[in-house]
Amino acid sequence: MIARLLASLLALLPVLPAVADEAVPAHAERVATIDWGTAETLLALGVTPVGLAETAGYRDWVGSPALPPDVAELGLRATPSLEYLAALKPDVILSTPQFTAIEPVLGKIAPVISLATYTDDLEPYRHAQENTRRLGALLGREQAATDLVAATDARIAKLKDAVGAAATRPVLVLYFQDDRHAWVFCRGSLFDDVLKRAGLKNAWTGPDNFWGFANAGVDRLFAIRDAAVLVIEPVPPAVRAKLEARDGLLGQLPVFAPGNHAILPSVWGFGGLPSAGRFADQLLQHAELFERGHAS
């Protein structure tokens, strides 16, 4: 009985759907996606998705490009409603490897294209470029895709020019979970790739995970002697209070000295080229932070 059950379970092993781009109708118009990063790329290409998972979350965490109100809500990202999705009659459903488990089910509604940005080779920016071009080809927006890739590169180049040779200070990019814990973006993150391309150095050299961030207690941030600090919104109230009152470890960290850190409006850390571009623009506004000899 056990052997039989195991055998039948193992027989189910190869379940990955292999959908070629050719399976998608030429110049597909009705596109649905469950990934926020893909959604922002679509919008930047001038394609409004017919449906997106957790639209409220997209508006809170990604924000821009703004999601038009007529985009249908599909439910949770991990389990988008099949009946709602089917009712939209999409030509193609865009997914990421994170959702491999549900792709066979989604595949019954429309061809599923899985776009990998965050992978083992830790080069999300390059993957985001490839995905943009692939989406362009898929949706008949080749020119828009080429433009988006070029425009994003240009935004980063502009940053590189602005900080120029003066930018020898490393940069620490973090997202606070509470006043004692932060996610620090490291190698493998979109933000790190932007820093690299702009000629900036990430101050965090610790090991990285698949998604390009590390968990860190605030006490570990002391190991960083000299860096420009970028804190990404939303910032928990307790963190804001400590930074303003220069209270606690957080407030007394040399790198958190007034004028040495900036709070950036929410940028999605797991997004695509639009997030990368927005991040570059925001860095540009704080270019003086990266100059050697600034503040601390």
Partner: protein
């Protein structure tokens, strides 16, 4: 002579501990990097507060544990077994979502209110059978799951907003400054003063209810002492999060170290708790910083503490666990003269549920048939039906095997094994597909069953001990999944969906496998009907009637495990369907083994099919997993069973 040797051993162990702790502290301090000023800041704001808070939290939990165990005369009472953590968790989750400012400024009142509510619920159930320790622990378990399922639903719907709650749940001791430490210290001091003032009543409570009454003990002392214990543990929960199993383990550790008298235990248990948390926390700080950051102390103490509970169960005097009286299988409800009629009725109910789930869906244009959706509704309905069948069969098997109406595959920890196997696979293979995930889950179920079998063979299948072992295994699962969530891995959404038991991803092939496994389990169990009829009558009767006792028990347990393994993959590790279904059958008067088995299977199937449908349509397009809804329904019903037991017995 022997006494002296024991004292020597304890002194030796204490000396080794002190040396180890001092060594760890010295190396950890020496390892702090930076300039003189930075080192001073780090010591003053991070290292010493963290060390102090580890001592305070451990001491508070140790004291709370002694108070609970003594006042309730229950060796297994502790903040984690009495719902304090689940109550605090729910209240804080609601706080983060509904009133973030209030939550940020005053987490303590929230945590305390939640903990007191949970405790109130448990007490309401437990009070009815005051001398039965197992019932109280089971009530705590069931109430924790009812509250936990609400927390799970909130978490599923707001995952992105609750990252801080994952850290909280895993109990990180990272500190920044002394504010939190001072508040906790104040509360621990109050707790210690109240305890000292009420030391005599506490001692008298230990003699038992009757004695306490005859000695003229004030009615107020017990609630006051218990409230102190709840406040102490809720304060720890609010200050640093969940530090698992210290409240349970510390009093026992104190006893092992020779603290027999209450007065000694009141001092020794907080010391043991403080020592335990300090040691674990200092050891974690020895790890490379990146690993240390991913290992919150509370989850680690739970990972150590859960197996410790299994170990402690072997030491707890047999009498204390079993004076509660053997629980009678019989429940209220009329006895049915015609089981076939009842079974036919149940079958019609299942048919209706199947038709509803298959035919009626919801799309943007509202409720309707939507025939184009049949193709992907079908596998879900089939899988839900199959897993309900499997759990119904498994529930009936284990309840009869242990002659205990609170036994179920979920409570025995088989479902927990499934989930741990799954998490292990996801941790090892970043992009594990469905097949690999299934494989890991099945291995997990078999490992837990093997453990249950080994413990059972060793201890002669004592029902209470096995149930509590299951609770420990479930706690182990909780700790592992909390750790996984605290890692902040974006795959945690998928794991949450899995743990909460969704039919969403089910492929047609797999749905058929689940259905066949359920049906095969039912058929094989039907063959063992005679054993199932006789086993609840007790070992003596069974042997007398020529049942090969060990072989029969082994066969029934393996059968139950396999029926659970396939089902739990669909409906989640903690569905409570296996607990509920046999009771539904019993309530309808299906008492003999055969009819109850079939009734339980059909009722289980109808329940899961209905829960799955509800989850799909109520908040559409947002889907609630069948498993979480089953937990909610099942744990509420289980509370009813516990409440009703007094009336029935």
């Amino acid at each position: 002579m022997l006494h002296d040797r024991r004292r020597l051993a304890i002194l030796f162990a204490g000396g080794v501990y002190l040396l180890l702790a001092a060594g760890l502290i010295a190396t950890n301090i020496a390892d702090i990097q930076g300039s003189e000023a930075v080192r001073a800041l780090l010591l003053d704001y991070a290292y010493w507060p963290r060390l102090t808070v580890s001592l305070l939290a451990g001491a508070a939990l140790g004291l709370a544990g002694v108070l609970m165990q003594q006042a309730l005369q229950n060796p297994l009472a502790a903040p984690e077994t009495l719902g304090v953590n689940a109550g605090a968790h729910l209240a804080l989750t609601v706080g983060v979502l509904a009133a973030p400012a209030l939550h940020a400024a005053h987490p303590e009142p929230l945590a305390i209110a939640g903990a007191l509510t949970a405790w109130g619920l448990i007490a309401a159930i437990g009070w009815r059978r005051r001398a039965d320790p197992t019932t109280l622990i089971l009530s705590g378990f069931v109430v924790s799951f009812a509250l936990g399922s609400v927390s799970s639903l909130l978490t599923l719907l707001n995952q992105q907003y609750l990252a801080s709650m994952f850290i909280w749940g895993a109990g990180s001791l990272v500190e920044d400054g002394w504010t939190g430490v001072e508040q906790l210290a104040l509360r621990v001091a109050v707790g210690a003063i109240v305890t000292a003032a009420l030391a005599r009543p506490l001692l008298i409570l230990g003699f038992g209810e009757q004695q306490a009454k005859s000695l003229g003990l004030s009615k107020l002392s017990k609630p006051l002492l218990l409230a102190t214990a709840v406040l102490l543990s809720a304060s720890v929960a609010a200050a640093v999060g969940i530090i698992g199993f210290v409240g349970l383990a510390a009093p026992h550790l104190a006893r092992v170290l020779g603290a027999e008298k209450l007065g000694e235990r009141l001092v020794a248990a907080p010391l043991a708790g403080a020592g335990l948390v300090l040691l674990v926390d200092q050891l974690i700080q020895r790890l490379p910083p990146d690993q240390a950051a991913n290992l919150p102390t509370g989850a680690v103490t739970a990972l150590i503490g859960a197996p410790m509970l299994i170990f402690l169960l072997r030491r707890v005097p047999r009498l204390m666990l079993e004076t509660g009286g053997r629980i009678v299988t019989r429940l209220g409800g009329g006895s049915a003269g015609r089981p076939m009629v009842v079974l036919a009725g149940l079958a019609i109910l299942l048919a209706l549920a199947l038709a509803l789930a298959f035919l009626l869906g919801r799309a943007p244009d509202g409720f309707g048939l939507h025939p184009e959706a049949f193709a992907w509704r079908l596998p879900r309905v089939v899988a839900a039906c199959g897993s309900g069948l499997g759990l119904g069969v498994a529930g009936c098997l284990v309840q009869r095997l242990f002659a205990n109406p609170m036994a179920s595959p979920e409570i025995l920890g088989i479902g927990g094994g499934v989930a741990m196997g799954l998490i292990a696979v996801l941790l090892i293979f970043a992009d594990a597909g469905a097949g690999l995930q299934l494989f890991g889950a099945t291995v997990g179920a078999l490992v837990v069953t093997g453990t249950i079998l080994l413990l059972g063979l060793d201890r002669g299948f004592t029902p209470e001990r096995l149930l509590l072992t299951g609770i420990a295994i479930t706690a182990l699962l909780d700790a592992s999944s909390l750790l996984f969530l605290a890692l902040g891995d974006p795959r945690s959404g998928q794991v949450l969906a899995w743990l909460s038991g969704s039919t969403y991803w089910v492929e047609p092939d797999f749905a058929i496998v689940v259905l066949l496994a359920g049906l095969a389990g039912l058929a094989l169990s039907a063959l063992a009907c005679r054993w199932l009829e006789i086993l609840p009558l007790g070992a003596g009767v069974a042997t007398g009637l020529g049942v090969p006792l060990s072989a029969a028990r082994l066969a029934v347990l393996v059968l139950a495990a396999i029926a659970t393994a396939a089902a739990a993959l669909v409906v989640g590790p903690m569905s409570f369907v296996g607990l509920l279904a046999p009771h539904l059958a019993g309530l309808m008067g299906l008492r003999r083994a055969g009819p109850q088995l079939f009734g339980s299977a059909i009722a289980g199937a109808a329940l899961v099919v209905f829960a799955d449908w509800t989850g799909r349509v109520v908040f559409a397009p947002t889907e609630l997993p069948a498993g979480v809804l089953s937990v909610l329904i099942g744990s509420l019903a289980a509370m009813g069973v516990l409440l009703g037991r007094k009336a029935a017995s």
